[in-house]
């Protein structure tokens, strides 16, 4: 079984599920978790490629994971401060940048 090819297809599947979640859900935290899922799908593609193309892909995954940690901390802080303003995490009420 070509494990690399199948892992790439699996990465595409997971990325698409993440995109669907971002487009369809209204809860800001679940949308954020779908973004994390998309990052993980990209990581899976990196790892699958690093199986044949050398270890550099794993170094990139290391960086992606640390940037994802920073992004999660800042994004959740933004969600908390908007929750204070709106008493909700519903994305359809996050229209404070509209005129």
């Amino acid at each position: 079984m070509p494990i690399v090819e199948h892992s790439l297809i699996l990465a595409a599947f997971l990325f698409v599920i993440g995109v669907a979640g971002v487009l369809v859900r209204r809860n800001a935290i679940i949308v954020f978790m779908c973004v994390e899922l998309m990052l993980n799908a990209a990581n899976l593609a990196f790892i699958a490629f690093s199986r044949t193309l050398g270890v550099d892909g794993q170094v990139f995954v290391f960086f992606v994971i640390s940037v994802a940690a920073a992004e999660a901390a800042v994004g959740l802080a933004i969600i908390i401060s908007i929750f204070r303003l709106r008493e909700s995490v519903d994305l359809e009420r996050f229209n404070i940048l509209r005129w």
């Binding site: 494990i3 690093s50 044949t52 800042v74």
Partner: protein, 164 residues
Amino acid sequence: MADLLWWIFAALAVSGAVAMVMARNPVASLLFLVVTLFSLAGIFVLLEAHFIAAIQVIVYAGAIMVLFLFVIMLLNLGEQYRPDLKAGIWLVAGGVASGTLGWLLASALGASGVVGTEPAPVDRDVVGAIADPLFRDYLVPFEVTSILLLAAAVGAVLLAKRRV
């Protein structure tokens, strides 16, 4: 044996991701995401990225998911059972966009041309094989990442504080 394990982990990852998108309770959604992350760590092991698999379990499934759970419980979001999906046209648009993107990604990755080449020979131990390029070729990005993490920590405290 490895093939069977791969299929089990892949099925777990996809069903966890689908359940995460479908679940109404944010806490259940987060636990399904943890299932997906753990099965991805298993697939990383099968792809011989043992160090990244350990990082995945410790940092992602451990630290980042605990942060999400902490915020969900801090904002008291566990008991929202009203429908959370967007209305009508957004569902259709989301389905069409995801389908198109999936077809594009699958065909692009399938045609990437690395499939079938020989696996790169691993001549070092697991951590050493990562540490060598990380601290030689990628030393500057590594240090920039540490500054980024510091800035993110300070920024998160500053954003979430009530009064600066």
